[in-house]
Amino acid sequence: MTQSDPIFRLEGVTRRYGNLTALDGIDFVAEDNSYIALLGPSGSGKTSLLRVIAGFETPDKGRIWFQGRDITDLPAHERGIGFVFQNFALFPHLTIFENVAFGLRHGATKVPDAEITDRVRASIDMVGLSGLEDRNPDQISGGQKQRVALARSLVMQPKLVLLDEPLGALDANLRERMQTELRAIRERLDVTFLHVTGSETEALAMGDRVAVLDAGRIIQHGTPDSIYDSPAVSDVAQFLNRFNMFEGSLKDGMFHGAFGAVSVASARPNDTDVYAIRYDRTRIFDADASDLPGPALPVRYLASEYLGSSIIFLFETADHKTVEVDHHLSLGEPRDLTVGQNYVLSWDPAQAIVFGKESAR
C-alpha cells in the first residue's frame, strides 16, 4: 500500500434505528497515516458511524472498506481496528498490565509470553505510565485511564484507531494536555486516528482533516483552516459557534438584512439566505460613528463574558437577537462599554460569508 492509498472507505453507509436515520448514505475516504477529527452535534450520528466502522453495529446499506478489503460483514474481532471508548472501558478485574496485554493473550494469533511482556512494557512506556503496571483501573486517575485505554489499543499495532469522544470524560485542564499528547503519540506511529468529538475547538485543534457530520450526512470535509475560514453551508458555520448569522434575502447580488443592504461578491449554495460574520471580525463603534468599514447594525449592549484570553461582548439587536463580538486580548485592551447603551456594529464586508439560494456568480 502506498502512502496515498485510503486506509478506509465508506460507500453509501446507512444505518437506521426504527424510524430514525442515524447515518444517511455516508461516503467517505480517509488517507492513511493521518489524524481525522469527526465533528458533529449530539444526535448527528457520529458515534453510530464509529460503531459501524468498528463492527459493533452493521449498516443497513452500504459497504465499508478497510486496507483495500470489504469488511462490511466481518465481526468486530476480526477487523483489526482499535477503539478507545469515552468511558475508557478498562477491564476492572485486571491490572493495568493485564489490561494492555489482554488482546495479545486472548487474540486469534498466539503471542509468546516474552514478546507479550516486551510489547506491553513498551506500550505502557510510550503513554508514560511505567511503574503503574500492577495497579487496578480504579486506582488511577481519569487521565491515566485514558492512556491505558490508548496503550491497550496501540499494543495490537492497528492501522486505524477509532476514538469516541476520548477527552469527554476528562476535566478541562487535562483535556488540553491530552490533546497535545494524542497528536504526538499518533505522529510517532504509522496509524490513522479517527477521533469523534462534539467540541469544535477540539476538532479544529486536533485533526489534520476535519469532517463535519450533521443529521447523518457529512456536510463538509477538509483541513481545519478551510472549515473554519470557509464553512461550506450555513449549518457548518452555525455549528462552529463562531459566527453571527443573520437571516435575510439575497437578491441580485445584494443581501438585505437587519443591517441594511450590502453588496455581495459571491455566495455559497444553501437552502436559506444567511449572512455570516465571525465574532472576532465584528467590531464595535459608537452609535453616531461615521467611519464604518461596512454595514451598520444598531445594537444595545447587554453584558460581557470574560474568557481569560479574550472577552465576549453580548449585544441585542432591535428584533431581540443576540449578537456576539469577540475581542482577543493579544490585540490590546478593549474599549469600555456601558450596559444598556446603544452602539453600532460593523465589519469589513469582504470578511463576511454569504450563503444563499441564489448562489450563482
Binding site: 452493521t58 449498516p59 443497513d60 462490511t72 460483514d73 465481526p75
Partner: protein, 288 residues
C-alpha cells in the same frame, strides 16, 4: 442491516433463549393447560377418565363448602394484603429512605430477610407456642395483668392464620418498597424542600408516587403467595379455615383429580385477574 449478521444475531438470541423457553412451556404452561383439561374429565370413585363433562364444575358451585372456601380465600387475601402494606410501609420508609447510612440500611434489610433461611414450615409452626392458650403472648399478657383468662381465639382461628401469614409475607412487601425508596435521588427531596414543601407534602407528592412500583411488586408477591396458600391455614387454623389451596390438597389426597383441577382453574383465574390488575399500574419489566 446486512442479512448475514442479522441472522447471526438472531440465531444467537434464539440459542440462548430456547432452553429456558422450552422448559417453561413444557413444565409450566403445559401443566396448567392440563389442569384446565382435566377439570372437565369424568371422575369416578377411584379413577378418572377423559370423557369430557361439566360435572365437577357443577359440584363445585353446588357445594357451599367449596364456594365458601373461595370467599374465605378472597377475604383472607385482602386482609393480609392490607396488613402487610400498612405494617410494612413505615418499616420500608425507615430502612429505605430515612436511614442515612448505607450500612445500617443494609444491616436492617438483612435482619428482615434472615428468617427466610429457616424452613417455611417451621416458621409457620413457630406461631403455635406463641399464640396458644399456654403460649407466650397469653403468658406475657397475664403476667402484665392485662387479662385474667387466656385468650383462646389467638390460636386455631382465622386470626392466627392472618397473624401468621402477615408475619411470613410482610417482608415481601418491605423489600421492594425499600428498594424503590432507596433509589430515590436525595436531591429530588432536597429540591422539594427547597421549594418550601413540608414533610407531608413531600411524602404524598414525591415519595409515595415514586415508591408505587415497589408497592405493586410487593403486592403481587404477597397476593401470589397468599392466594396459593394451604400450609399456614392448615397448621394454624386447626382445619377451621379452608382455602382453595387446602381443598386442592384434600382432593388430591383422595385422588379426586377432576375436582382438584376445577379448584385449580378457579385459583388460576383469580390470580390472573389480581396480577393483571396490578400490572396495569406498573410495567414490571421496566422497573427491573
Amino acid at each position: 442491516m446486512s442479512a448475514a449478521s442479522t441472522n447471526r444475531q438472531k440465531t444467537n438470541t434464539f440459542r440462548l433463549l430456547a432452553p429456558g423457553v422450552v422448559w417453561m412451556i413444557l413444565f409450566l404452561v403445559a401443566p396448567i393447560m392440563m389442569i384446565v383439561y382435566v377439570s372437565f374429565w369424568t371422575q369416578t370413585t377411584f379413577a378418572i377418565n377423559s370423557t369430557l363433562t361439566l360435572d365437577s364444575w357443577r359440584n363445585f358451585f353446588a357445594s357451599e363448602a367449596y364456594v365458601g372456601a373461595l370467599w374465605t380465600t378472597i377475604r383472607l387475601w385482602l386482609i393480609v394484603l392490607t396488613l402487610t402494606f400498612v405494617i410494612g410501609y413505615p418499616a420500608a420508609l425507615y430502612v429505605g429512605l430515612l436511614v442515612k447510612s448505607k450500612t445500617v440500611s443494609t444491616v436492617l434489610l438483612v435482619l428482615c430477610v434472615i428468617p427466610f433461611w429457616t424452613s417455611f414450615l417451621i416458621r409457620v409452626l413457630a406461631w403455635r407456642p406463641m399464640l396458644g392458650k399456654e403460649g407466650a403472648i397469653n403468658i406475657i399478657l397475664q403476667k402484665v395483668g392485662l387479662i385474667d383468662t387466656p385468650i383462646e381465639v389467638l390460636l386455631f382461628s382465622e386470626l392466627s392464620v392472618i397473624i401468621g401469614m402477615t408475619q411470613i409475607y410482610v417482608v415481601f412487601m418491605v423489600g421492594p418498597i425499600a428498594f424503590m425508596l432507596g433509589r430515590i435521588d436525595r436531591n429530588i427531596i432536597e429540591a422539594a424542600r427547597d421549594l418550601g414543601a413540608g414533610f407531608g407534602r413531600i411524602f404524598w407528592k414525591i415519595i409515595f408516587p415514586l415508591s408505587l412500583p415497589g408497592v405493586v411488586v410487593g403486592a403481587i408477591f404477597v397476593s401470589v403467595m397468599v392466594l396459593g396458600e394451604f400450609a399456614t391455614s392448615g397448621a394454624l387454623s386447626g382445619r377451621k379455615v379452608n382455602l382453595l389451596g387446602n381443598i386442592i390438597v384434600t382432593q388430591v389426597g383422595s385422588l379426586k383429580w377432576a375436582m382438584a383441577s376445577v379448584v385449580g382453574v378457579i385459583l388460576t383465574i383469580l390470580l390472573g385477574i389480581v396480577v393483571a390488575g396490578f400490572l396495569r399500574i406498573v410495567d414490571l419489566k421496566r422497573e427491573i
